[in-house]
Symmetry: C2
């Protein structure tokens, strides 16, 4: 039911072109998964989301178990039917939200005890319950529960969280039952090369159908993130998909693809879209800027998204008037931008010109200060 097919490795790098097969269809990789945290990619109807070119999307175990609860989702036919998305869905395990969102969170060996960030209700999440929740949700890919910590952090803390992540991965694997769901392991280990390698080796020995690199985008520099990828990738099996969690900016994606990553997710395109920032080949466009007030041009003449049917002046007006349509249109644009970037990256890999492609894109973006 699940397999990763490697089509080609770029001649000038280890960038990979592949297909990840799931029960809800194939995912052409490298791929970017839009984030549907609470069972909806914010602001996008199903048809608008489909039109962005997205194939696999992500939803969050932490959010959905708090509200509406996995039993409700299950009674309503599972996550695919609930959201109305018939393509592949990956669910995060909740590990990252325990770190970033939950209140009064206490991690013990058994699992995590925390309070809901919504209403303070007390919950526990264990490796086993995370597996059960994700099976009830019915996603195609479930992530193991990991122990995420921020960076920088002491080596002892990183080693402790890393060792716990490995023990929890084993427990998740034992608890896993559904044949319709693939379970991916998560490599932790902070910025410590030896811990990252040891973690990867031990998880690979457990033989998961896919591997993620986690615990990044939590305070480190882009260069530190790239170094971690360079350390870890050689230890991950070539016949399994590789997923860099929660990353990131367009340049982060291209740098990671260059280092062998296949899958990504990030809230950046939708979050920035809601805040009037559009991604383009020549850098970020901040739509609230006065310079656009009577600008009749579209954001991008080559973009097929519905935002690009309008003028910059109209888009600016929507944000200044506080109209919902502004966030809707820019979310659609930004996700479309990410999907087009992945399509172009896949083509560049297939044609053995990924490093040039990567360099050209980075140069275009560098015209303006930065992308975020």
């Amino acid at each position: 039911m699940f397999s990763y097919q490697l089509h080609h490795v770029d001649a000038g790098s280890i960038a990979r072109r592949g297909t990840f097969h799931t029960p809800h269809g194939p995912v052409e990789t490298p791929a970017f998964m839009p984030v549907g945290t609470q069972g909806t990619v914010k602001g996008l109807t199903r048809s608008l989301l489909r039109a962005t070119g997205a194939s696999m999307i992500l939803a969050n175990t932490y959010h959905l178990t708090l509200r509406p609860g996995e039993q409700i989702v299950s009674q309503l036919g599972g996550l695919h039917r609930f959201m109305g998305w018939d393509g592949p869905i990956l669910t995060d395990s909740g590990g990252f939200q325990l770190y970033s969102l939950a209140e009064c969170c206490r991690i013990r060996e058994e699992g995590a005890a925390f309070q809901s960030h919504i209403d303070g209700r007390r919950f526990t999440l264990t490796p086993e319950s995370s597996v059960q929740i994700q099976e009830a949700l019915g996603s195609d890919v479930a992530m193991v529960l990991d122990h995420v910590i921020g960076l920088p952090n002491g080596r002892d803390q990183v080693a402790d969280a890393c060792a716990r992540t490995i023990r929890w991965a084993r427990r998740c694997q034992q608890a896993h039952q559904s044949p319709h769901q693939a379970q991916f392991a998560i490599v932790q280990g902070g910025l410590e090369p030896d811990l990252r390698v040891a973690c990867a080796e031990q998880l690979v020995a457990l033989d998961f159908p896919g591997y993620a690199v986690g615990g990044l985008s939590v305070g480190e520099t882009p260069q530190e993130m790239q170094q971690v990828l360079e350390v870890v990738m050689p230890y991950l099996p070539a016949d399994r998909p590789r997923y860099l969690m929660g990353v990131g900016r367009p340049q982060d994606l291209l740098e990671a693809i260059l280092r062998g990553v296949d899958l990504f997710d990030c809230v950046l395109p939708t979050r920035n879209g809601r805040n009037a920032m559009a991604f383009t080949d020549s850098g970020p466009v901040r739509l609230r800027n006065r310079r656009y007030r009577d600008d009749p041009r579209p954001l991008d003449t080559k973009c097929p998204c519905p935002a690009c049917e309008h003028s910059l002046g109209y888009l600016r007006h929507l944000f200044h008037a506080g109209e919902m349509l502004g966030p809707i249109l820019l979310s659609a644009h930004n996700i479309t931008y990410y999907q087009r970037l992945m399509t172009d990256a896949r083509k560049a890999i297939a044609e053995d010109r990924y490093t040039e492609f990567c360099r050209d894109k980075l140069q275009g973006w560098a015209v303006k200060a930065d992308m975020v």
Copy 2:
């Protein structure tokens, strides 16, 4: 360029089936115009709006002159291009917003002086400037500036505002220049039958291409509104469209069609949609209600809108989770509901069964307490 073609009058009432021709296409009447106050029907992309079945939409002179300003709209190609709507557009004159929204508004014979409800900036709006603004916007139909007052109100106040409305209509007609825009007059006169009749007669003598009934939905009962329509309609020419401004609930539309009205606009379907209320044939559905939490049924099995592709349980989740998609989907549903109601009303008139149609719909809605 503009003409109203009367196809048929219902055998059992004065309900009319017609076509109003405009430079941006025909409007089959009776018709409901969704409200795009600030140059966007809140929450709907162009394709989502088109899919509701809407043909003519409304935008507001008051809002657009305040932000972004009619010069910006004009520089960006006019209202049709600005909004990306190639169907007919009607602009309200600002008369109602002077009454409902503007701060420190002082009406004198020359015009109105007021402060913006957004930032307190001082503006004046005269019959002539309202005409000029609407010509700059480039709508298909412009409304004359009228003097709107609330109800109940003293006869002297009503008479004064009514007389001013007639004088202003004359000034608007004199200021009107664009051959691409039709100007509709507005009958005022509160609940005073003789004032309403006198106002209608004087405006009809000025020979406008269309007539509206204004100053309703401002505090009176539905019965009082219906009585005003019964008084006014016989005085309006049969070969011109008749527009009841700012009304209203589905039952108000059907009662007004029964009394000879052709055109409507109202924020109710979008405003209520944003507040989790859906219109259906068996009355209102309030999506926040706990009873829907695990309900797998759609709102309406016959409705083609994107909300009805989902379960009630999912729609409820979206509102409880504060997700934009809830307001988007219910706005689309409610406008689709209004458009389907108008389509069915047109068919019923053509088949001489409008009174039965009307009775059946009213009975269905009466199952629950009320529609708002």
